[in-house]
Amino acid sequence: MEREKIIAALETAFAEISGAEYEDEPVTFAEFLESFAKFRDPDFPVYWIPYTIEEAVESLTDRKFGWHEDVLKDEWSYTGEFGFVCVDPETLKCLTAERSNGSCTVSVVFPILNIDDAVQAVEYFLRLVQQA
C-alpha cells in the first residue's frame, strides 16, 4: 500500500482520537510524534500514539480487531517503544503470536518516534492481516 495512503489514514485517525478535527489549528500526528520524541513528558497523552496506529490499520483493512497496547517505560521516562497484541475477532487467532525456538511470543514491540516509524508499524500489521 502506498505510503501517502497510510499517512492519510494515520492523520485522519489521529484527528479523531485527539479531537484535533474540532480545532482551528490542529496538531498533525507527525508533529505530535515529533513533540513526543523531543520531550517524553510524563503527562503527554501517549496512548494516542498506539490508538492512532490501531485505528489506521482498521480503517485501511475495513475490519475491527482486538488490541492490547503497552507504552514501555524505563526507570526515568518513556523509551519510545510500544508493545502491541492484535487478535482477529473472527478466528480468535492472535495475529502477533510468533513461534520461535519452541516457545510462542504474544506481542510485538516497535519504536515509534516519528511518522516513518508509524508507517512501518502500520505496514507490519497490514502484512499480518493479509497473511492471516
Binding site: D43, W67, H68, V85, V87, T91, L92, C94, S103, V106
Partner: protein, 147 residues
C-alpha cells in the same frame, strides 16, 4: 485443550500458588522467604523494577499448573504518571492454536461492540492473587467451552 482440573476449588488454587512459590524460591536460591514476607516487601517497594515482575510469573505459572500445560502470555504492569498502579493486565494465548484465550466482547449500550483481549486485576495482597488466578481460569475455561 481442557483444564487438567475441572472444577478447580479455591483450596486447589491456594495449593498451586504455594507449590509455584516454592519452585520460584528454589530457582532463585532463596529458600526461607515466605510468600507472606514477600508480599509485605512488595507493598513497600513495588516501584522497584524487580519486585512486580515476580507477581505475573507466580500468577501465570499457577494458572499453567491447573490448566496442565504451558501457555503463552503477555503481561502489562499498568503505570500512571505517578508510577506502578498495582494493576496487571494479562493476555493469554494457546501456544498450539495461537488462539487468544482471554478475548471477549461486550456491549455497554446494546449497539457498539467493545473487544477486550485482556484480563486485568490489582494485586496488593494474597487474596488478590487468588482472585486474579480465579478470574484468569474462569476466562480460559469459558474460551475453551465456546471453542
Amino acid at each position: 485443550m481442557q483444564l487438567a482440573q475441572v472444577p478447580y476449588t479455591e483450596e486447589q488454587i491456594k495449593q498451586a500458588i504455594e507449590e509455584v512459590w516454592q519452585e520460584l524460591l528454589q530457582e532463585a536460591d532463596a529458600e526461607n522467604y515466605s510468600l507472606e514476607e514477600y508480599l509485605e516487601d512488595y507493598r513497600k517497594y513495588w516501584d522497584d523494577p524487580e519486585f512486580p515482575n515476580d507477581i505475573p510469573e507466580l500468577i501465570m505459572r499457577t494458572v499453567e499448573k491447573i490448566v496442565g500445560r504451558p501457555l503463552s502470555w503477555y503481561c502489562e504492569l499498568v503505570r500512571d504518571p505517578a508510577g506502578f498502579t498495582g494493576e496487571y493486565s494479562f493476555v493469554v494465548v494457546d501456544p498450539k492454536t495461537q488462539k487468544c484465550l482471554t478475548y471477549r466482547e461486550h456491549t455497554f449500550d446494546g449497539v457498539n461492540v467493545h473487544r477486550f483481549i485482556n484480563v486485568a486485576g490489582t494485586v496488593v495482597n494474597y487474596e488478590d492473587i487468588v482472585r486474579l488466578v480465579t478470574k484468569l481460569l474462569n476466562q480460559i475455561q469459558s474460551a475453551l467451552t465456546a471453542a
